[in-house]
Symmetry: D2
Subunit: 143 residues, 4 copies
């Protein structure tokens, strides 16, 4: 199975800054291959829950962004994937005062659906804080 | 099965304001029974994604809060439930400029786990925008 | 939203007997409307796990069949839906020696995806033994 | 994190034959470490759906068995884990006439909950046919 990418790390970062300027500064794309993408969340006050650890919605959002970018790397910026399902397991409390990193694997890229999984880690910790599986619908490209 | 509540609507609202002051103004608890709780998200700028509809992380957060409150209504404010799993299906784009309402049903309240489902609606629309199932771990009460 | 069915209870039962003769005797379609379908699993030895209660794979299969039939009722026997995702929560041990009943609700029927949820009960018990959410891909009808 | 196993491959196989004699011949435990277990399903007629490929309930059951064994390897045969949640994505039709192999990773083994993920493959194919995340409740050991 030969797989090609339509956007590399630089193109994806530019795509983020153009299409999602509100959140582009929160995310740093660390690496991307046709099968796997790693993105770092620069944790700040707005991402925290009472108690000072990263909130559930923030972790959900990070997993969602990570696989979204992995899909866009493959299909290019023309059609935009839409999340249809996410199942997420929260495994451990994130370490306080640390960024989170998401490792997204694209397991299937079909004509209308893309599916993958994402592991989330506190930077520097081997045990994941969350795992999730996500499905995206890929709309037909408008002519 | 006789079920009792340890916090009613007023007690839950006070609990929110005390323990989650950052977000308490976003949520209005509309009704609560031992089996079902309805909470409204007062949608504002911070909840929107590019394009102006409510974001995925916001919908996840609303479902999470809704079932969390349904559990706390039953167990009281002593032990705090922790989300361990969420599966969410995004069904339709929320209507722009409308609040969201979540209807949470508590399906099981065990000694260590609570499970329920949550339907999300744009106010005034009959078709749900998302559905989800969530599991919470209930820590032992500290003596 | 006006919804019509392409197969009623009798047509669905005939469809089951013709296309799934190996399992058709296990399932009794009890009722069907455009939004909801109820199907009963006639529990026998092959459905049990060690200990004598209905097995997890059997419960998964019942949920899957229930929503599949709810979709086919709406789209007719031409295109066959394919399960792409299932999230299931096991809530309680089924009652020994009782049939199971599944209540499937179709929450979205789109052009390429259908989504719904299913509650499973031991006949005669009010508390569900499992709940699940399922997604199906609907292949394009072959010309 | 030092992790030890209470049952190795031989002990797990004996445990299967003793506690699950009905299905023990279907499964071959191929390898086990504290973090990962690989088990093969010897596919036979009863596992197939109309059309001749492995059925959804069979894939669900294989994922469930795989992580169950991974947990029992760690906790021993005293307490028996109970599945509480499974989310499964069906990615591709399994290859006809081939066994399936499941690779289970244990991501968290807590006091009351264990969580992991499982990838399913048709033997000899690099692309997975399904992926799933599962949660088990670990009952307290009876004194």
């Amino acid at each position: 199975m030969k797989m090609t990418m339509k956007m590399d790390q630089a193109a994806l970062s530019a795509f983020m800054r153009r299409d999602f300027p509100q959140v582009a500064d929160d995310f740093i794309i660390e690496s991307v291959t046709p099968e796997e993408l790693t993105v770092r969340l620069v944790v700040s006050e707005k991402h925290l829950r009472p108690g000072g650890t990263v909130s559930g919605p923030t972790m959900f959002g990070l997993a969602d962004v990570a696989l979204y970018l992995a899909i866009q790397a493959r299909i290019g910026p023309v059609a935009l994937a839409v999340t249809t399902n996410c199942s997420i397991d929260f495994l451990r409390k994130p370490a306080a005062g640390r960024d989170l990193v998401a490792v997204a694997r694209l397991l299937k890229l079909g004509r209308v659906l893309a599916v993958g999984d994402v592991m989330l880690y506190s930077i520097g910790e081997p045990a994941p804080v969350a795992r999730s599986g996500l499905t995206y619908s890929i709309p037909p490209v408008q002519g």
